[in-house]
C-alpha cells in the first residue's frame, strides 16, 4: 500500500502548488512533480472527491480538460506542509553524501552545502533522525575531472585500465556515457575495442587522456541498474560456486541467480559471467572456503595458477 502513501503525500503538495498557479499546464505540473501525465490525471480524478465534508458538498473543485488545470474554490487549506522525519532524513542523508562526493564540482558542492543547512533549519525536529544515517562514497577522484570534461565536451577517452579478471593492464579508447557512484564510482562507456557497453571502476584507471576525437557512442537505452551495477545477461555462461560458511560473502558481493543453503552452513551459488575466466581471482581467493564447481575449466585454470604460484614458495610445494 506504499503507493497510496506516496500518492497522498503528492496530492497534499499538489494542492499547495496548484493554489498558486491557476490554469497550470498538465504537462508542466507532471514534470515538476516527476510523474507521468497519466499519474497526474489519476490524482486530479481523486482530488474532487476530497474535502472537509462530503455531505456539506465542501469538496475541492478542481478540474482539468486534460491540458490545463483549474481550481475554482481555492481556500487556505493548502499551506506548505512541514517535512516529515523520513522525508528530511531521506533528503538530508542523500544531500550530505553527494556533497561529500569526490569529484563534484566545487560550485555544486558549496550550493548543496548551503541548501543542506537551510533544509536542516526548516525541518527543525524532523531533521534530527538524519544524524543516525550515514552514507560514504569512496574517494577516487584522480581521474574524475578528465572524465567530467570528456563528458561535457563530448570527447573520446583513452584509458590504461586494470582488468581485475585478467590481472593485467589493458589500453583502450572509450566513448563516455555517464558516471555512476554506488560505493565505488564507475564510468559507463562504449568500449571501441570490444564494441560493447562496459563499466570501468575509477580506482582501476591507471592513466587517462582526453582525446581530440569526438565521442560517438551508439544511441542506447539507459541500462536498468536496479539489480546492481554488474548485471550479467541471461545468455552469459553459468558459474557454480560452492562455499563453506567462511565463503558466504561471495553471495553478498556477486550478483547471482540463486544461493542455495548447504547442510554445513555453506551455500551453492549460481551466477553468470560474460567471461568466466575473469573469475580466476575469486577462485584463488576462496582457498579452503569454497570451490568452483563449474565450469570445470575455470577450476582447472585456478588450480594450475595456484600450483604455479606455489613454485615461488619452497616450503609450500607438495
Amino acid at each position: 500500500m506504499s503507493n497510496a502513501i506516496d500518492q497522498t503525500r503528492r496530492m497534499l503538495s499538489l494542492v499547495t502548488y496548484l493554489r498558486e498557479r491557476p490554469g497550470a499546464e498538465v504537462a508542466e505540473v507532471a514534470r515538476a512533480f516527476g510523474i507521468t501525465e497519466r499519474e497526474l490525471i489519476g490524482d486530479l480524478n481523486v482530488l474532487p472527491m476530497c474535502g472537509t465534508s462530503f455531505r456539506g458538498g465542501d469538496l475541492l473543485d478542481i478540474d482539468t480538460d486534460g491540458d490545463r488545470i483549474w481550481w475554482h474554490n481555492v481556500d487556505d487549506v493548502a499551506q506548505p506542509l512541514r517535512l516529515a522525519a523520513d522525508e528530511a532524513t531521506a533528503l538530508l542523508v542523500a544531500a550530505r553524501a553527494v556533497a561529500g562526493l569526490p569529484g563534484l564540482r566545487e560550485r555544486d558542492r558549496e550550493a548543496l552545502t548551503r541548501a543542506v543547512a537551510k533544509i536542516e533549519n526548516a525541518a527543525g525536529d524532523s531533521a534530527e533522525g538524519s544524524a543516525r544515517v550515514g552514507v560514504t562514497f569512496e574517494a577516487e577522484s584522480h581521474v574524475f575531472a578528465d572524465i567530467d570534461r570528456a563528458l561535457s565536451e563530448g570527447r573520446r577517452l583513452w584509458l590504461r585500465y586494470y582488468s581485475h579478471g585478467r590481472g593485467g593492464m589493458t589500453e583502450r579508447e572509450v566513448d563516455p556515457i555517464r558516471l555512476v557512484t554506488e560505493g565505488h564510482t564507475y564510468l559507463e562507456a562504449w568500449c571501441r575495442v570490444s564494441e560493447d557497453r562496459r563499466m570501468f571502476r575509477l580506482d582501476r584507471v591507471a592513466e587517462i587522456k582526453v582525446l581530440d576525437t569526438p565521442s560517438d557512442p551508439p544511441r542506447l537505452e539507459p541500462r536498468d541498474l536496479s539489480g546492481g551495477l554488474v548485471n550479467p545477461s541471461a545468455d552469459d555462461p553459468e558459474v557454480v560456486v560452492e562455499v563453506g560458511p567462511g565463503g558466504r560473502w561471495v553471495a553478498e558481493y556477486y550478483t547471482h541467480d540463486s544461493a542455495q543453503e548447504l547442510p554445513d552452513g555453506g551455500l551453492r551459488i549460481t551466477l553468470r559471467s560474460a567471461d568466466p575466466s575473469g573469475l580466476r581471482p575469486l577462485a584463488l581467493r576462496l582457498g579452503r572456503d569454497g570451490r568452483i564447481v563449474s565450469p570445470p575449466e575455470l577450476a582447472e585454470q585456478a588450480a594450475a595458477a595456484a600450483l604455479e604460484a606455489l613454485a615461488g614458495y619452497p616450503e609450500g610445494r607438495a
Binding site: 481523486v46 533549519n121 550515514g134 590481472g167 582501476r204 560458511p245 558481493y253
Partner: protein, 337 residues
C-alpha cells in the same frame, strides 16, 4: 466499490487541517465517506482500526495531529493545527535548488526514494525555484539498500525501539538470535551496517545488514542505555576491510601486474627484469587478497601472512593442508569489490 486509500487519507488530512476546533471520531466518521461506509458495512471495530491506521500513516507523512482530551466532553478530539504543520520559510536560491535536484534520484530504495521526492515536492509547493533540468555533471550517485532489514531498522532507530533478529556472523555455520538497541546505520562501499547496543553481550556491536537472516522484529520497551552522540561505524568497518593497518608486509610482484597493490604500496623497489618488491600495508584480510594474484606474486613476509597464502594456494591446487598451517579462514571478507 471500496473507496481508495489515498482518497480516504486525503480526506482525513483535509478535515484535520481545516478545523479550528478538535473533531471527534464520530464527526470525522460523518465527514469522510470512506469511514461512513466502513462503519455502515462493517462494524465500529473495522472503522476504529481503519482510523487508527490512517492517523499513523498521516503522521508518517509528517502531519502533526494533536489529540485533545478535554474540549469534547470525555471524547477525544483530533486536529492538525496550521501553525504546527506549516513549513517554515525556506529561501533557496536557484543554484541551491539546482544542486538539490542532483539528490532527487539518489535513493534506490522505494521508501527512501518516495520520502526524498516527497520532500522535494513539498519544497516545490512552497515555492522553491527548481529548474526543469540541471546542467550537471553526468554523474549519478546511487544509494542502494537492497537488504530487507534496512527499512525496519531505520524505523526502529528513528523511534528508538529495541529489535531482535537472526544474525549469521562472518564465517559462522548458523545464525543466532541477537537483541539490539539500534543506534545508527551506515552505508560504506555499497553495503549497509548497523551500530547498536547488543543486549546479551552488554556491549556496542556493528552488524552487516546482509547477514541478518529472517525478519527484524521490534520489541516493546525503551532503550536501556543512552545513544552515543557520535557512532563511527565507518572506522570500525574499514578495519575489517583491511584499512587502517599499522603493520606492513613485503611481497614480490611481477612487473606490470597487481595495479591495485601498487597504488597502495608504501615503497616499490625494482629487483630485476621480471620482479619488483613492494612494501604494503598489512591489514585484515590481506592473505585472501594476495592469493588472487596467483603466480604474479610471492609473499616474502611476515611468516604468518606467507603461511596463510600458501595454505590458500594449496587448497585451490587440490593439495592437503600442511601440518604447520593451522590458520583457519578468518580473513575472508576483505575489500573485495
Amino acid at each position: 466499490m471500496a473507496i481508495a486509500k489515498a482518497e480516504r487519507l486525503m480526506n482525513l488530512a483535509l478535515c484535520l487541517m481545516n478545523t479550528r476546533r478538535p473533531l471527534s471520531k464520530k464527526e470525522l466518521r460523518e465527514s469522510v465517506e470512506a469511514y461512513r461506509e466502513a462503519w455502515q458495512n462493517g462494524s465500529e471495530d473495522a472503522f476504529n482500526r481503519m482510523f487508527e491506521r490512517d492517523k499513523d500513516d498521516l503522521r508518517e507523512l509528517g502531519l502533526v495531529i494533536d489529540v485533545d482530551e478535554n474540549s469534547l466532553d470525555g471524547e477525544l478530539g483530533y486536529l492538525a493545527r496550521a501553525d504546527r504543520n506549516r513549513l517554515p520559510e525556506i529561501a533557496l536560491d536557484a543554484e541551491e535548488a539546482a544542486a538539490l535536484t542532483l539528490v532527487a534520484r539518489v535513493w534506490q530504495q522505494a521508501k527512501m526514494s518516495g520520502a526524498a521526492s516527497g520532500a522535494l515536492q513539498k519544497l516545490r509547493a512552497a515555492g522553491v525555484p527548481f529548474a526543469e533540468a540541471g546542467t550537471y555533471s553526468a554523474l549519478e550517485p546511487r544509494i542502494p539498500a537492497r537488504e530487507a532489514a534496512f527499512e525496519p531498522l531505520l524505523t526502529a532507530a528513528r523511534d528508538r525501539r529495541p529489535v531482535t533478529f537472526e544474525y549469521r556472523k562472518a564465517g559462522a555455520a548458523a545464525a543466532e538470535q541477537r537483541a539490539v538497541e539500534p543506534w545508527a546505520l551506515e552505508c560504506w562501499r555499497g553495503h549497509w551496517y548497523l551500530a547498536g547496543w547488543d543486549r546479551d553481550r552488554q556491549d556496542a556491536r556493528v552488524f552487516r545488514l546482509s547477514r541478518i537472516t529472517g525478519k527484524v522484529r521490534s520489541r516493546s520497551g525503551a532503550f536501556t542505555g543512552a545513544v552515543p552522540e557520535h557512532v563511527d561505524v565507518r572506522a570500525y568497518v574499514a578495519t575489517f576491510a583491511g584499512e587502517g593497518a599499522t603493520a606492513t608486509a613485503t611481497v614480490r610482484l611481477r612487473r606490470g601486474a597487481g595495479f591495485p597493490l601498487r597504488t597502495k604500496a608504501l615503497e616499490t623497489r625494482r629487483v630485476d627484469e621480471t620482479w619488483d618488491e613492494l612494501e604494503i600495508p598489512y591489514g585484515y584480510g590481506l592473505g585472501a587478497h594476495l592469493a588472487e594474484f596467483g603466480p604474479d606474486l610471492v609473499v616474502l613476509g611476515p611468516d604468518d601472512l606467507r603461511a596463510d597464502v600458501i595454505d590458500r594456494l594449496r587448497a585451490v591446487a587440490g593439495l592437503e593442508a600442511t601440518a604447520a598451517v593451522t590458520l583457519t579462514g578468518a580473513a575472508t571478507e576483505g575489500a573485495q569489490a
